[in-house]
Symmetry: C2
Subunit: 268 residues, 2 copies
Amino acid sequence: MLINGLSSDLISIRDRGLLYGDGVFRTLLARNGIALQRQLHLEKIRNDCVRLGIVCPASSLLLAELDGILTSHPNGIIKLIVTRGQGSRGYAPPHDAQPTHIWDVSTAPEYPPEWSRSGVRVRVCDIRLSEQPRLAGIKHLNRLENVLAAAECTDSEISEGLLLDTQSRVIEGTRSNLFLLRDGCLITPKLDRCGVAGVQRDRVLAYAQEQGIAVQIRDVMLAEVYLAEALFLVNSVIGVWPVRALNERSWSDFSFVSRLAAALEQRG
Amino acid sequence: MLINGLSSDLISIRDRGLLYGDGVFRTLLARNGIALQRQLHLEKIRNDCVRLGIVCPASSLLLAELDGILTSHPNGIIKLIVTRGQGSRGYAPPHDAQPTHIWDVSTAPEYPPEWSRSGVRVRVCDIRLSEQPRLAGIKHLNRLENVLAAAECTDSEISEGLLLDTQSRVIEGTRSNLFLLRDGCLITPKLDRCGVAGVQRDRVLAYAQEQGIAVQIRDVMLAEVYLAEALFLVNSVIGVWPVRALNERSWSDFSFVSRLAAALEQRG
């Protein structure tokens, strides 16, 4: 719990992060004193800040603070939030806004190991994602759609909900990105209208490129998901989850996904 | 500054209001120790809480706290925020969430008096509102679209920006609701896909009904706005602003809007 470099777990009620969700965040997994993909996460949060016109603290500062946190918390989930900071009343971003940056640490969730090995059951959420190109891809603090989507997934047999847009294009999971394997080609939805572009998604894409696996980043209709030879979900905390069931459709060949997961895991 | 009944201006960084914008708010104008339309505001915030599944504190509690605030701050802007409260990591709303409710007081903005008398100049924002029926009408804490819209309105001659949806339907101002007068009929955009349903909008509708003025709540294309005999913006803080110019179109007959504004003002 570090706010602007000082040990604290309280922020002002006038911080625009609270008032308007005017900020961004990323979630890192720490293991044995190492925050996995920290450079990629910092790049993402910096790019997200640029898109919203928020001044992101210097990477050297963030890395130094992260090192300090890892010393006392070598394992767990480390969340970095950057908000536009405090300002006078009203939606317009103040010209002199001083960003607030927050580090928070929590225990890593213990997912059943079979979810990674034998896959998870997913459902299609009723709520549809709205389309806002100006915010698409950004991991910002306006996450009510994810909250409402997660609230739908109360069945303990269901590990994740799939989110579609209003045109029945599949976009992502409530807290993960989605990939399909079809005819040896790796397909993942475009995130130019909605969705969050996660670090783990980039890593899968980089892996595919290295391995000479064809990749398509494009619109994916829900109907096509059922035709996939394999389906999997990724994020920085869960790693890779193969999907074993979506409604009546089930999958049992996880060989490709297992190889991919092992390769990503090995790179740390 | 009162948080859950205690004097404070700091909340936990684990409050879901900050983490996900998982909360709602309303803004009241206090004048001579009276918070205008307090019952209507409390009804609105309660309804918004219901739609998000947030437990809203009892009205009796909120009214008692508000009375205390008015004693020390008889004039100004009083903001009430209700968030879902703190919870364990993850988007899913915790079953045992204890809501956080926050009162904040600030000085009322001093708008030039001629804005109410002689109208304001408005522009059409470039950003388009996304459509999310599940959140439409609610004054929730996911307000990045308003932030980006307000950031566009840097011209000091422009008092407010109009927000359209992707189909060029006019929805609202960045911080106000919009009305058109056409052939003696009062028209205001439907807010079932996006937008915030303000208390002052309801008051205008109630006034029209009392006065026997025809009302239409429906989709309004931008093209129709230019055909209006009068155009005006409302919210609880500004009251009523006639529009005197939108791009090349200008209006100069403010008689209807002035009568309406005076009537609403008189009711307090």
